[in-house]
Every structure is written in C-alpha cells, then in structure tokens.
C-alpha cells in the first residue's frame, strides 16, 4: 500500500523534505496571499506603502548622508545610489523580521495541524517579494530621471536576488526556530536589524572601507547583494571580490538554517 507514515521519536539532523513541501505548495500559495492581503487590509493607501516606505527612507538618507554629511557615493547621484541599497535592504529586513516571528504568530496553527512548518517562513519570504517587485518601479523612475542606462551587468541580477533570498531565508529559518523557544529573538531583532544596516553599504560606498578589513566586510552577504545591485543597474563591472565571500556565507546560512529548523521543528508544538 502506498502512503505509509511512520511516526517515531525524531533524532539528529535531517534535511528538508522537498517532496512533502511540494505536496503542500497550495498551502504555501495561500499563506503567501494571506500575508499580502492581511498586511494591507483596511488601509487607505494599501499597496502604496510598498512605495512610500523605501522612497521616504531614500529621501531621508539623501538629505542626511548625501547633502548634510556628504558621504561619498562614487560619483553616482546619491538618491539613485542609496535607493539601490535601500531597496534590497528593505526586503531583507522586512522578511527577516516577519519570518523570524512567523512561527510564534502562527502558534495556534502549529499546535493544531500538521504540515511542513517550513512553509511559514517561506511564505513570509514570498509575500514580501510583492513589495520588492513594486519598489522596482522606483528604480526605473530614478534611472530615467538620472538618465542612466543599465548595461550587460544586468544579467547577473537574478543571481543576486537568489543570494538575497537565500540569506533572508537562511537567517529567517534559524531565527524563527530559535524564537519559538527563546522569545528574546523577537525583542533583539527590531534593533539588531537597525544596527545591521550600518554593517552593509546601504548609505555609504564600499570604497570607504579600509583595505585591511575588506575581506571580513565582504563576508556579509548583503554587502555583495547591494554592491552587485548597484553594479548591475549602473552598468559597472561586477565587483566579484565583494560578492563571492558573501555568496558562500549565504549558502552556509541557508543550509544551516534548514538543518537547524528541521532539528528544532519537532519541539515547536510542545514549546510554542
């Protein structure tokens, strides 16, 4: 007979059950849609917030860091320069916060029904993608306004987006699994995200980083993502030296996150 399930005490490390996840793809779809709809329900501007938030952040940065503090943007108009940092960063920080809390906010479902728990942080990662895509409009507007034409480097953008997703999901899985047991994660995350922004070249350029620290700096996967985004839209050569160390870290984060999540998964219903 097909479909035999064996339930036994879970032990050790197991990797993601992709086949099972695939069976639950409809659930992932509806959770993603729920995330999108619930977020903008009963608001006047609705999805318009996906534009307002990064644009206002960009304007503030342009005034404070671009005009007042005169932070170097390598000769690129500061608004464009900072938006190409703010754009992936907004996605990263939003996804991280949401996915880290995804298990706690859905504790009532976890304790009542079985499904691959991984769909919860995954749904956060996907539902935020809509905002990310909408904010892309601003990039186009800025490119037209400053009359910048992207070149060949643009072909690398999908790879950079994958790195962005892997980083967000890897950290999201780790933190969400941790947050079930240690609610400290929830409190720490809000301000950690703020501080972490300064560890990535959102408001400044990588040229400002002293050569001796460059390698360590580039281990932050978001460094490569942001620098890569800038290069691909501004028709510059890909700064691979900034990208590859972060890519490795992103991959590691993802694999570790998945393993850790799966290991902790079996306690979720007991401690949530």
């Amino acid at each position: 007979m097909d479909n035999v399930i064996i339930i036994k005490p879970g032990k050790g490390w197991v990797f993601v059950n992709v086949k099972e996840l695939w069976l639950y793809r409809d659930l992932l779809y509806f959770l993603t849609m729920r995330g999108i709809k619930a977020k903008y329900a009963q608001s006047v501007l609705g999805i318009g917030w996906a534009i307002i938030q990064p644009v206002v952040t960009m304007l503030v940065f342009t005034i404070i860091f671009g005009r007042v503090a005169k932070v170097s943007s390598d000769g690129i108009p500061y608004a464009l320069f900072s938006f190409l940092g703010v754009w992936p960063w907004t996605y990263f920080s939003g996804t991280l916060t949401e996915s880290a809390n995804s298990l706690i906010t859905n504790a009532s479902i976890i304790t009542k029904v079985y499904f691959p728990r991984l769909v919860l942080p995954l749904a956060s990662v996907f539902s935020r993608l809509l905002d990310f895509i909408i904010a892309f409009v601003i990039v186009i507007v800025l490119l037209i306004y400053y009359q910048v034409m992207p070149g060949f480097s643009l072909v690398w953008l999908p790879l950079l987006i994958i790195q962005l997703l892997l980083t967000s999901l890897g950290l999201g899985m780790t933190l969400s699994a941790m947050a079930v047991q240690y609610r400290d994660v929830k409190h720490a995350l809000t301000f950690m995200v703020q501080i972490l922004m300064y560890a990535a070249p959102v408001v400044y350029s990588t040229t400002a980083v002293p050569a001796a620290y460059r390698f360590w700096f580039s281990l932050n996967p978001m460094v490569g993502v942001i620098e890569g985004f800038r290069a691909s839209f501004l028709d510059k050569p890909m700064p691979w030296a900034w990208i590859w160390p972060g890519s490795m870290v992103a991959l590691l984060l993802f694999v570790f996150g998945a393993l850790y999540f799966r290991k902790m998964e079996r306690f979720f219903a007991d401690v949530a």
């Binding site: 007979m1 779809y29 029904v113 306690f267 219903a269 007991d270």
Partner: protein, 430 residues
C-alpha cells in the same frame, strides 16, 4: 500483512512541568536573583527541549500506549480531562513526536483538532475556505470542486465575500466545520468539535459526522466528552486514564467502564468537597468554599434510594454586597443529557451581604430513576458577570429501594432518565 491502518506500538510522551520561580526574602537576595535571572531563564528555556534521565520535573502524558486499528473501524477515545486524549491525537496527527515508541499509519490522514484553524479575520469567507482547506491538507483543485457544497453547508452564502472579522462566532464555526466536513481522507482524526455552535448546528454537524464515519472504508478516531455522540458514531472504544489504556473494547462497554459509578467509585467517593481560599471555584466576590450532598439523614453520601430526597448544600463566600446573584444547578444523566436546570433566582430576595451564606436545594423523592446522575453548578448575575462557570460538582447514584416506600418500582431497570412516581386515578365513567 494485516489490514491494520494504524498500529501504535508502545508510544509514550513526556512533557516538562513548568519550573517554579524561586523568590528571595531579602532585598540583596532579590537583587542577586535579578542578576542571575537571565542565566536561569536560559537554563530553563533550553531544558524545554532537552531531557536528562535524572530529571524530576517531567511528566508522562502518555505511557506505553498500544493499539491497532483496522480499515473502516470507528474508534472512540474517552477519558477525563488530562487523561492524555489530546496528546494521543496530537501524536497520531504528527503535530508532536512521541518520546518513545512508533506509530505506523497507512493512508491519507486528516486531523481536525479545532474548527477553522488558520482563519484570518481580515480575509473573506471565500479566502478563508481556501486557507483553512489547504492547512488541513486539501489541494486547491479539491476545494474548487467542493466549494459550492461547502458554502451551501455552512449557510453563510450571503457573506462569503465579507471579511471573517465581521462574522458572528456562530458563522465562523459553521464555515470552519463545513470545510472540515468536506475533507476526504482515508483516516480522520477528530477532537471534540461537535460541541461548538448552537443546538441546530450541532444536530446538522452530528448528521454529517455520521455520514462521514459510515463512508466507505473510512477509519475514524473520535474524541469527545459527549457520550451520546460517541455511542452513536463509534463501534469500538478506548478509555484512557492517566496516560494509559484502561479499557479497549466495544463502545457500550467502554462508556460504561468510563462513566462515573462504574469507574470504581473514583468520582462517586466525593460527597463533601471543601476548598481553600485560592482554589475555591469562583472569582472575585463569589467563591464556593464547601459543598456536600446528602440524604435526609444529613450524612454526606453518593448513593440514594429513589424514594428519598437528595439534598445539596452549598457554602458561598460573598466578598461584598451583591444584588440578584443567581446560583444554578443542573442535573445531568450519565450520558450528559441535561434533565433539568434549577435556579436560586426566585428565592434569593435581592441582596446578599458580605459573609458566608449557606444555600440548600432538594431534589424531591420519587423523581429520579435507577441510574447515575451528575450535578453541575454555576453562579452569576445575569447579563453582568459570571462568577462560577458551570462545572461538574457531584455525581451520585440512585437505586430502587427494596423497601415498601417504593412499591411501584418492583425490580429491573425502567426506561427513561427520570422515573417520577405519579398519581394515577381511575374512575368508572360508564
């Protein structure tokens, strides 16, 4: 291979009891505790998922459970609160792992431990049907196919495009149940979901459950406190007691085994209950501090002859002057049917002042039948506040006395939940 679809082999489940917080009497001590708190919290939280052999703060919710379930069997699981029913269902539905032992399940499982899981208030009824359906393991295409049927069953057609937050709780329950009722698994696991909604809906839900359980070759596990529902739906019953299987057999026998009175006097033994300040039922201004049940001899006991009156005495501690307090008693039979409800409202004239008050109510003789009954108590001011939510206070047993005082009942069991001695009059009219 046998045709068993579920084989539970020696499953046990261990939980950790919450650790007690330790206070310190001195200021310095309290300060030290504050400093040490993060370390202790870390240890405590980490221990939630780690167990050592020498741990004494663990609790076995289930211990060595074994059973097999054949294809098409409908099993009722009964037991008191805390007997391990829900834990067992959670293991069988893969929500939590057993600590030891294995379960083998063949076939597609759907578990229904709650109605409307995953409903989001901001989403419309329609969206929530899909949300809830996919959470329960349905595919989108399946829901598409059954959608019209689901909506028709729920009776909320008109509001299907309205956000669920504007629904009444009854509507939410109906919609949730409608989705669940259209699951089409080979194995269905159901926890106490028939106890929601109004009487009419419960009837409809019960009918649907009956239909679902008699479906072709469907295996069902059903947990409920409603003995009537269990008897109607199930053929086999397992009684859980303190985490172990206490009985496994036919449903009639299982229910008889479980019900107070046949339960080796476990519940029957209490004819006097006294509480201390903290644990007394009730909240705020009203606390039940003592209650006993007795015959006319004023001796607390749980067995009575049908020809004697049953007295229930309550001692209530009232914290401040209260107006229109109502104490209600319900008499239930051993299948949880309510036989009657009696209220003190016509007898408490207006005001009760602070202090301890005694209340007494008498069930008249020659009314009850030879069987087991339960008494449930509640108290509150109507429309203002509930002080004591309904809870089971006593159970007692009535038997026909073999003395002359009950000449009408000779012997044997009479049908009916009550057996009042009524006056018959014969007059020759022609």
């Amino acid at each position: 291979m046998s045709d068993s679809v579920i084989i539970a082999d020696n499953i046990s489940k261990r939980y950790r009891l919450g650790l007690e917080e330790k206070g310190d009497k001195t200021l310095a001590g309290q300060f030290m505790n504050m400093v040490k708190a993060p370390f202790q919290n870390f240890k405590r939280l980490t221990s939630l998922s780690k167990f050592r052999a020498d741990d004494d703060s663990v609790f076995w919710a289930l211990k060595d459970i074994n059973f097999e379930l054949k294809k098409g069997e409908v099993l009722g699981i009964i037991g008191k609160n805390g007997a391990g029913k829900s834990t067992l269902l959670k293991i069988l539905s893969r929500i939590t792992d057993p600590t030891t032992g294995t379960v083998k399940i063949r076939g597609r499982v759907a578990s229904l431990l709650e109605v409307g899981t995953g409903f989001h208030p901001e989403l419309t009824g329609l969206e929530n049907v899909y949300m809830n359906g996919t959470i329960l393991g349905m595919r989108r295409k399946e829901i598409d196919k059954k959608f019209a049927e689901i909506v028709a069953f729920s009776g909320v057609e008109k509001f299907i495009n309205t956000p669920v937050k504007f629904y009444s709780s009854g509507m939410k329950v109906r919609l949730g149940f409608a989705v669940a009722a259209h699951l089409d698994p080979e194995i269905l696991i159901v926890d106490e979901v028939l106890s929601v909604g109004d009487a009419e809906f419960q009837k409809k839900a019960m009918g649907k459950m009956k239909e679902v359980t008699t479906g072709e070759g469907r295996t069902v596990l059903f947990v409920s406190h409603n003995m009537r529902a269990v008897k109607r739906l199930c053929k086999r019953g397992i009684v859980l007691s303190n985490g172990s299987v206490a009985f496994d057999g036919g449903i009639e026998e299982a229910v008889n085994f479980y019900l107070p009175g046949n339960d080796e006097g476990e519940t029957l033994d209490t004819a006097v209950v006294e509480w201390d300040e903290e644990t007394a039922p009730g909240q705020g201004e009203v606390r039940l501090i003592k209650a006993f049940i007795s015959g006319n001899d004023a001796l607390p006991r749980n067995t009575f002859s049908t020809s004697e009156a049953v007295n229930i005495q309550l001692f209530l501690k009232i914290g401040s002057t209260l107006r229109n307090l109502r104490v209600n008693l319900q008499l239930l039979d051993d299948e949880e049917n309510i036989i009657f409800t009696t209220t003190s409202q016509n007898f408490v004239q207006g005001i009760l002042v602070e202090g301890i008050h005694q209340a007494m109510v008498q069930i008249p003789p020659d009314l009850l039948n030879e069987r087991n009954y339960n008494i449930r108590l509640s108290a509150g001011i109507q429309g203002v506040q509930n002080y004591i939510l309904p809870f089971s206070l006593f159970s007692f047993k009535m038997s026909f006395a073999d003395n002359a005082s009950a000449p009408l009942h000779v012997s044997g069991k009479w049908p009916g939940v009550v057996a009042p001695v009524l006056e018959w009059r014969f007059t020759q009219v022609n």
